[in-house]
Amino acid sequence: MIFLKLIVTNLLRHRIRSLISIAGIAFSVAAMLTIVTVLQGAVAMFSGILSSDSQIIVFERNVSDLFFSSVPSEAVQTISSWPIVEHADPVLFGIVSSSDHPIITCFGITDGDARLRKASWIQGDRSQFGKDTSGVVLGERAAEFMSTTLGNTVQIGHGSFRVVGIIKTANGFEDGGVFMPLSSAQSFFHKEGSSSVITIKLHSKEDVPKLKASVRRSFPNLVALEDEEFTRSYSQFKILKATAWAVGGCGLLLGGLGVANTMIMSVFTRIREIAILRVNGFSNSQIATMIFGESALVSVLGAVVGLVIGMVFLFALKLIPALHGYVDTSVQPLVLVIVIVLALMTGVAGALYPAMYAMRIRAVEALRFE
């Protein structure tokens, strides 16, 4: 109890200094939580596009970005004919721009694609898709920012298209995207006879290894991965996640330096007090525990405040109409745990030097100058 009192008392003794340290950790934690959650949400959304009513994704081997993947139409026909396959949907990804929006994701799909089947149709209906090669379906947000409605003609990139439907999906990328008939997209993006990926659903999940082997054997230039496998191994996702953690880590490092500064000041201004504890029998480990306890308390308080700030910030992001559907604000428990552990580790690391300094204080020297 006295031990805890010593820790708390010292933090309260220099309230402003302690508050600044707590704020440093808090903003670092908030930044890390926000960046990681937003990017993980983006990754999850992109994965969601690929795994829409499918278990396996087939794409060109060794491409770093799916936008550059090229899967021949023959592969779609062959794979669709395999008895273990329930359906195989080719998807062609493209990036186009409109006058107001430099980047609009374009999906070249067939009329039986799960994205259209599962979407809520706000205007038009699925039967109109594919009837006309210049007919496109817009996501709700895309229709919003293009200020268009059913039956209008919209300028997308170098082409003009007629809006045959507007759909609402839970996925931000899809909601802000344009859905074209596959043949139109192939022509538009000069990728005749190919798609970016094939998304496949099997009759039985147990046939996954069999399908992978068949793809490997029949199309050595293609690779088949289960959705989770793809999310784990896709290099773009890895880069995004690594960037998020690195940026967040830098924030925490700065917070850690703040804690280190506070703890150093705390020890320097308490040399006499530490000497008194030594004369009263405090061991090196007890002195160190006290210093680490202070930094741990700062870190825990900072982490808690940071989590609250981060959650509020994520909630606020979700309310911004322009980001609707793009930001998945559901924080994964694992991310929470990692952020808290990192904050604690940062705090403890920040207390290393101060603790070592405190352990070296010689009572007799500190007390000599009364």
Binding site: I2, T9, S283, V364, R368
Partner: protein, 231 residues
């Protein structure tokens, strides 16, 4: 006035043999071959001018510092060979300084409990000991008071309680009444003698005050880092 008891036994509890100590890489020699013997239960006053080495000798006897040469033994164990000088500070020796050296943000009770935390004494026993000592020193009504709220005499009595919390056999006091006014000085010193007598503690006290020193069983004169012949 309380008179000091003579040593209860002739058992040696503190021994300094040819102890030398210098600072600043030998530029300032503080102790020059000091020999000192402290017996169980006796009260010893170390007198002498400032800088004669009284405090340094106390620090060496208490294991707070190490001699350059010579040997210090506590209860028959040589300090340089002692596996953990901490054990001394926790169980065998208590320190009282001229300035009370209490932690101002803690209460009287919390300050006194610090040595028990260091020694790992259970809270119940620690509280019982605290009650016993504060009853004796007249501080039991001030347990929850912050140090800033205590008078000089109360602070020094608190320091005395803290030093005795773990029932040490030896109490080393460095000018324990040096910062007090005359009336308070006498009261605190009476209390100090009474408690060490009751608890059978060996007291070694550095002081300038000849009157107080005269009330100890033995007075040792120090001068220029040496002990003069006992008076």
């Amino acid at each position: 006035m309380i008179a000091a008891n003579p040593p209860a036994t002739q058992r040696v509890v503190l021994l300094a043999e040819d102890v030398w100590k210098s600072y600043d890489d030998g530029a300032i020699t503080v102790l020059r071959g000091v020999n000192f013997t402290g017996f169980e239960g006796e009260t010893v006053a170390l007198c002498g001018p400032s800088g004669c080495g009284k405090s340094t000798l106390l620090h060496l006897l208490g294991g707070l510092d190490e001699p350059d040469r010579g040997r210090i033994s506590v209860n028959g164990k040589e300090l340089s060979r002692h596996s953990s000088p901490l054990r001394l500070l926790r169980h065998e020796i208590g320190f009282v300084f001229q300035l009370h050296n209490l932690i101002p943000d803690l209460t009287l009770e919390e300050n006194c409990l610090i040595p028990t935390v260091a020694a790992g004494l259970d809270h119940k026993s620690a509280k019982a000991r605290l009650r016993e000592l504060t009853d004796r020193t007249g501080l039991s009504h001030r347990l929850g008071s912050k140090i800033q709220k205590l008078s000089g005499g109360e602070r020094q009595r608190t320091a005395l309680c803290r030093a005795l919390m773990n029932k040490p056999h030896i109490l080393l006091a460095d000018e324990p009444t040096g910062s007090l006014d005359e009336a308070t000085r006498a009261t605190v010193f009476d209390l100090l003698l009474e408690i060490v007598a009751n608890e059978g503690v060996t007291l070694v006290m550095a002081t300038h005050d000849r009157e107080l020193a005269g009330r100890c069983a033995r007075l040792i004169e120090m001068h220029d880092g040496r002990i003069r012949e006992p008076l």
